[in-house]
Amino acid sequence: MVKMNIIEAIHNAMELQMRENPDVLVLGEDVGPNGGVFGTTRGLIDEFGEMRVIDTPLSESGIVGFAVGMAVAGLKPIAEIQFIDFIWPAADQIFSELAKFRYRSGGLFPAPMVIRSPYGGGVKGAHYHSQSPEAYFAHTPGIKVVVPSNPYDAKGLLISAIKDDDPVLFMEPKRIYRAFKEDIPEESYEVPLGKANIVKEGYDVTIVSFGAMLHVALDAAEEAEKEGISCEVIDLRSIVPLDIETIGTSVKKTGRFISVTEAPKTAGFSAELSALVGERWIEYMESPILRVTGYDTPFPFVLEHEYMPSTGRVLKAIRESFNY
């Protein structure tokens, strides 16, 4: 066991996979001597050389498209997008190409690879260093979407993503990159994609979240406990594929549901979660199916903490749900 924060866990996952499999390589802006703007690739170029740790030109479409071509040839690239807010130049390569390569060719041309990218607000990043666009990718068949909320999962999920036979978008909660350390195994291990984690058991209200927001949900759940409301908190870990069963089991038990996500509300992934509850388990519901989300504005700067779901806002939703 070693103590690692999320950054270190991600670094470690890549390092181990690169040692194990010569087909794995890393590319992106500033991933070489600079080690990535957050340090996740620090030192990799020293161990693996610049053929395998590639500082690319400043073009996300280039990064993803180039990586797709590597994947077509059987390599396993890990493409870093410096901030997920800057992923849009690559939208065509992701939505039209990467996600559809296997399907459109009748299965003849798979192109599995990993895109890693820090996401999310709460770090004074403003407009373009704060967004949380998981819904765009979840709505795109053919790509898996994974978001860890702690170092253990970060390492295990990233290793699974690298070993996976499908394209995976691995979203990294930069707000908690260095927030805490955990004891995690030194060696390689996998956390399976598509399995949610019940972080806290409870029987009154089900709260579903992922990534950095999981901790806000958890804090609120603990506050609620003090008021005598017992919350079950589920960490999705994978958004696609989604662990519908775990959500269902919980909702059937509690009869109350809240999702907590930081993206804008309209058509966010929280809407999908609400929709699932409404179409599958409405008969169990004792109160409205709630969402605590970012507002439908571009991401602000000085008002970011007011914009994002906070313990207070989640707690308010818990009370509303419970006292309905």
């Binding site: 390589l25 053929m51 395998r52 590639i54 690319t56 030109p57 073009s59 479409s61 280039g62 498209g65 180039f66 990586a67 797709v68 071509g69 590597m70 994947a71 077509v72 040839a73 059987g74 390599l75 690239p77 130049p89 065509d92 390569q93 039209s96 190409e97 390569f101 296997r102 399907y103 459109r104 060719s105 009748g106 299965g107 003849l108 041309f109 798979p110 599995p112 068949p141 053919g142 898996k144 036979d165 499908d166 598509g194 594929p241 989604l242 519908i244 069963e245």
Partner: protein, 358 residues
């Protein structure tokens, strides 16, 4: 620099030094493939007009691209745009696979998922084309990088149109390819038109090969209706690439003699005169003349080639037309390698609905 032409419109070699040293068999195979491309085109038009096939992509006048295939090694990769069927045929794709694909039937290797004409085949490293224009250009650079990384000596060739030079991924492919010195060959099939948009509205640099300057890469312009110019330019580019000298841009100046696709009506935007001017530059005609002059083939031999393929094609079409479309359940395959539970559920829902009501 001037435009490279080796075989002129009359089937004459302009500079004996540049006449490629290729075997009779190779040359005849190349002609055969060009003829097959032409006949697939003509058959496709008819099938589309008869409503038996949903869509048609014209290839007439651009068959000289087959010269590329002659210059490549078996293990090299090719990313086509969508008019380069000749590469696939030369490299040995099953004609039946193409025909089943046109009919999108249950034997279509792509499971009836694509518009007729958009096919690939991993056995011959001919990558399944997209429809979004330009995306393959940077992918090809990545595949070329993979060869460099592995040191396997492979080269990746990618085709795209003049319109595609305006795309984001032309810029990305050229830049990533050049800066990583990857063994890639970028071939622009400059057929003068992007649907209705003429080259002069596409770019103010209408000598497309000069765009290579922006990327620190050599660029050459060739007669795109000359199979030997293709062979020569690609051969040189592969040598540079395999020597670690990086990529090359080849501009093949040709012409889209037909409409863009079966959905297009070019009389809206261009004159017949322009088209006629190009008909006389036909790449197959001149290559046939060359082979006849050379004494490799007689007019009769050539007619036989047409007839033979006509028969083969008719048989394949008859068979393909009879086959049913892919099974309903295949809709859910290949989204991911394995069908995840949520998709399995959707599949069962559709299958049970179909059973009840369809």
């Amino acid at each position: 620099m001037s435009r490279l032409q080796i075989l002129n419109e009359n089937g004459d070699i302009l500079d004996k030094n540049l006449e490629p040293d290729l075997s009779k068999e190779t040359l005849i195979k190349a002609l055969k493939v060009m003829i097959q491309v032409r006949m697939l085109n003509d058959k496709g038009i008819r099938l589309q007009r008869q409503g038996r096939v949903g869509f048609h992509i014209f290839t007439v006048g651009q068959e000289a691209h087959v010269g590329t295939a002659i210059a490549l090694e078996e293990d090299d990769w090719v990313y086509p745009a969508y008019r380069e069927h000749g590469i696939a045929l030369y490299r040995g794709i099953e004609v039946a696979d193409i025909v089943n694909h046109l009919f999108a039937n249950e034997r279509d290797p792509q499971k009836g998922r694509r518009l007729p004409g958009l096919f690939g085949d991993p056995k011959i490293k001919f990558v399944n084309p997209s429809a979004p224009i330009g995306t393959q250009i940077v992918q090809a650079a990545g595949t070329a990088y993979a060869s460099k990384y592995r040191g396997d000596g492979g080269v990746t060739t990618v085709f795209f149109g003049d319109g595609a030079t305006s795309s984001n991924d032309f810029h990305n492919g050229m830049n990533f390819g050049a800066v990583t010195k990857s063994p890639a060959i970028f071939i622009c099939m400059n057929n003068q038109w992007a649907i209705s948009v003429p080259l002069s509205k596409q770019t103010a640099q209408t000598e497309i090969y000069k765009k290579a300057v922006a990327y620190g890469m050599p660029g050459v312009q060739i007669d795109g209706n000359d199979i030997f110019a293709f062979y020569h330019a690609v051969k040189e580019a592969t040598e540079r690439a395999r020597n670690g000298e990086g990529p090359t841009l080849i501009e093949a100046v040709t012409y889209r003699v037909g409409p863009h696709t079966s959905s297009d009506d070019p009389t809206r935007y261009r004159t017949d005169d322009e088209v006629k001017k190009w008909r006389v530059k036909d790449p197959i005609e001149r290559f046939q003349k060359y082979l006849i002059n050379k004494g490799y083939l007689s007019k009769k031999d050539i007619d036989a080639m047409y007839n033979e393929f006509e028969e083969q094609l008719n048989d394949l079409v008859d068979e393909a037309d009879k086959l049913p479309k892919p099974e309903l359940s295949t809709m859910f395959d290949d989204v991911f390698k394995e069908i995840p539970p949520f998709l399995q559920e959707q599949k069962e829902e559709l299958l049970s609905f179909a059973e009840e009501e369809m």
